[in-house]
Symmetry: C2
């Protein structure tokens, strides 16, 4: 096991993974167990038991527990990024698109609490090498680009820093996983709409505070 953990790794998943219908099932099972027990307390035996194979057969799919965590987190990141990009491609004006993206991202997170929990709780367990292979910058860039695009709209503050604004938006949204409970007072829709209104309205020029001489914006 120790030797396997230290074995050199190729940069991409072996080809059998995409051919094997059980690969995503393994990732889903691992995510559920990591979310429930925590990564450090989970053994490959736990995962093999729930996956219904002998522990040795897991090595057909992964070399080690840390590789499995990386593959779970990469899969969660990939799905979240695909969702964010789909939201960002909506045929809306740039301000309404930002609202839709924030609302949609909050809904996505509350719909995917298991994956989000693993990603955000266990991120620190990943090696530097694994972290470097996650699309973290791309995630931020989707939102930062939307903010920069929106700045072409005269309603939007021209002096917003797109990256800083994106980090505030993602921070507020990601934090939802910490306190959201499906049986809580507010529905995901209400939370998403409230966050979108707070954060996007905060990007807009207040008419009363507009530059003197500029016409009031609607």
């Amino acid at each position: 096991m120790v030797n396997r953990r230290r074995a050199p790794r190729t940069g991409t998943a072996p080809p059998f993974r995409s051919d094997d219908g059980r690969w995503q099932e393994l990732l889903d099972i691992a995510a559920r167990i990591f979310a429930r027990k925590g990564y450090r307390s989970t053994t490959l035996q736990d995962i093999a038991d729930e996956f219904g194979v002998l522990k040795g057969s897991l090595y057909h799919y992964i070399r080690s527990k840390d590789e499995l965590l990386f593959e779970v987190v990469r899969s969660v990141y990939g799905a979240g990024l695909a969702n964010l990009r789909a939201l960002a491609a909506a045929d809306l004006d740039p301000v309404d698109r930002l609202r839709a993206v924030i609302r949609g991202h909050v809904l996505y997170l509350t719909d995917n609490l298991v994956g989000t929990t693993v990603l955000l709780h266990e991120f620190d367990q990943l090696s530097d090498e694994h972290r470097a292979r996650l699309p973290i910058r791309e995630y931020q860039a989707v939102v930062a680009d939307l903010v920069a695009d929106a700045q072409a709209d005269p309603r939007v503050k021209p002096d917003l820093d797109p990256r800083l604004t994106a980090l505030a938006v993602l921070g507020a949204a990601n934090w939802v996983y910490r306190w959201y409970r499906p049986d809580g007072k507010r529905s995901p829709d209400e939370i998403g709409a409230a966050y979108a209104d707070l954060l996007v309205d905060g990007m807009l020029i207040r008419t009363g505070a507009a530059v003197p001489g500029e016409p009031a914006e609607r």
Copy 2:
């Protein structure tokens, strides 16, 4: 060690702690080591070595590593809450007070990255019993109360949910610990001011969007 971890605990710290000048020193050392190595990888031996005592002498201060983590996190929470309450007591109008609180909270977090990192990384390592003794609700309530107070001001959206708004503010601010680097492009002051403007402006009615018949607000 296992027996000590399971020993019944009193609800408050033994009195020697406040009398002993080294108590805070122990917490600071433990926080630094937990932040650097992670709680799970840290041994009481590591802490005793850096504290300059034999491992057995640590039991004068704490019963177990999990109690030490709890005391570190409780101390970080307590100091952060005291700072938040001091900011919230500023003699300012409620809207400017919210700006000052958000800016001051971001500055506080960037000034206290070690404690913040331990609190946010290792929160999940705490037992339910320990978590229940942390002032988490009080933390949220300081900000939620400020939002509710600000709603007496006609500039502020009357339909904001104070708790949800507080969670968005704290989420955005707390997330800073994840990406902030002292040698980064933006200073803590710039980050704090940008977050305060984004989040507080988002709580204000846009004049162009005000209720028809209401006078435009400044």
